[in-house]
Amino acid sequence: MTRNFFFKNMKRIEDFTVIQHHWLNENTFLIELKSSGQLPVILPGNFAQIQINNTPGVFLRRPFSIYNADYKNNTLTFYIKIVGKGSRELGLLKPGDITSIIYPLGNTFSLPDKDKVLIVGGGFGIAPFLLLGKSFREHQKKTTFLIGGRSKQDIMLASTFKKYGDVLITTEDGSLGEKGLVTDHSVFNNNNFGYDMIYTCGPDPMMKAVANIARNKNIPCEASLENMMACGFGACLCCVVETTSGNKCVCTEGPVFNINDLAW
């Protein structure tokens, strides 16, 4: 099987089998699911629409970034924060349970021209960045991850990300790394900032603040958005974001956008 970074895969709907959960704290977990066939190529930034079974009150699928793809075992891993009924149910699944997944969905990040990249993630916003970090290593980029959280407990997987680059941390209460928001991190104050491109994913206000910094420093920046979705594959037009050329679907024309295209 050859894998081409630029080849757009067919979207598919497929039953996956739960392999295991790995709980990171009481409301955040990794869930690994196995395909019965062979995984298609997953691009960094791609997401999936996961069906939530057995949950009255959850009608639509739920979108989650693909955190990791293991082509040997044909498994996908998602990094999930429990925020409501659907994410809670995914935490309750048992090994062997079956769930339907529509994937791979969405576009991907751009490869930067130059070498040094800064990846800024807040909350579950770090989910798409493991695959991105892996891809950057393959392409010999020098990656720095800047991860923010409210406190120490929110900072997870730093050791995993360390394999693919430097890891900087901020916490609002100062319990780990620098105190403050990600945008307060000293890396941004540095006069010779030195990064050639910024990638960000997380809560909207955070991404907007990162985008502002990028604009001020005149550095290209891509943001991965997390709008509410009904379908995830361009059928409903519910997930739009305002861009400089009109409303665009986050699910098909995103989730990754160059900040200059967004009407932020």
Partner: protein, 303 residues
């Protein structure tokens, strides 16, 4: 072999299963998931004369067994459709039906005329029932006078089969169907979405930018089914039923209540292959119940 073919006037469909406007985009978005040629037909996203950006985000909220949307007819306009999209989709071996919208009767007429030349679009669905636009849309569909006016005007302009899509947000849908039939509709489709609303108790804010939106999904099925039955009894033209169809049993119920064809809407979002499963399920049902033709079931509810 059972016979799945149905007819809307002279137009034959290979089976009664079609997909609803606004839930199937332009078909292409589903080509990764299914063979579009197997469908009876598909109704494309609502077209308007001009480019429309639709309503601001957020436009969607989940509800009990359903969803609200306030997309508001986002589309790039009829000319863009004709030049860019139609050429890409016109060779599917199934009926492509255009759903048309306007703020004024003139808009409707212009869009209709532009569609007349498109060979591969055998029918148009006149949408006088969109609850998510400030002008036109449902405003035409809640009053008999304006519904008749726009239907008559489009009837005159239209060289194709004319399906008129009704809003359920009215007191007497049977009466509305009757007058629209009188004004020249070849077929009545129903229902469009129900005007609804959702609030986030915590933030005290509405969940949709437009405050109100259109409710669809299984939650509306009992009301939609009753309305199809009401309309079936009231008119002679074929009825195209929809509202919360999720599986073949639902589809059979709409057919028993009087639908000649059915449309699948919101279900496409949850299972993009559901329309084919429903075709298979209807076929199974006919075999199991020893019914030769699906048309034998139209309005065949036993009271």
């Amino acid at each position: 072999m059972v016979d799945l073919k149905i007819k809307i006037q002279d137009l034959e469909f290979k089976n009664p299963v079609t997909t609803a406007s606004g839930t199937f985009a332009y078909g292409e978005e589903f080509s990764d998931f299914l063979d579009l040629n197997r469908l009876g037909g598909f109704f494309i996203k609502g077209l308007t004369l001009e480019n429309r950006e639709g309503n601001p985000y957020p436009r969607m909220a989940e509800t009990a067994s359903g969803m609200l949307n306030s997309v508001g007819l986002q589309n790039k306009g009829i000319d863009h459709f004709i030049s860019h999209i139609y050429p890409r989709i016109k060779d599917y071996d199934t009926h492509i039906i255009a759903n048309i919208n306007g703020s004024t009767i003139e808009d409707y007429i212009t869009v209709t005329e532009k569609l007349n030349d498109l060979e591969k679009i055998p029918a148009i669905e006149l949408n006088i029932s969109c609850p998510n636009v400030k002008e036109g849309g449902m405003a035409f569909g809640i009053r008999k006078k304006s519904a008749v006016e726009v239907t008559e005007a489009v009837r005159k302009a239209c060289k194709k089969i004319l399906i008129v899509k009704l809003t359920p947000n009215i007191t007497d849908i049977a009466e509305m169907a009757r007058v629209v039939e009188g004004a020249g509709a070849d077929s009545i489709s129903l229902v469009n979405t129900f005007l609804g609303m959702a609030i986030d108790a915590e933030t005290r804010k509405p969940l949709l930018s437009t405050v109100t939106g259109g409710l669809s999904g299984p939650c509306i099925k009992p009301i939609a089914l009753r309305m199809v039955w009401d309309v079936f009894k009231a008119v002679k033209v074929p009825v195209i039923g929809m509202g919360g169809i999720m599986n073949a049993a639902d589809a059979i119920e709409f057919i028993l209540a009087g639908s000649t064809a059915i449309q699948i809407g919101t279900a496409n979002f949850i299972d993009p292959q559901v329309s084919l499963k429903i075709i298979d399920g209807i076929e199974d049902y006919l075999i199991r119940h020893k019914v030769k033709a699906v048309t034998d079931l139209t309005g065949a509810m036993e009271i």
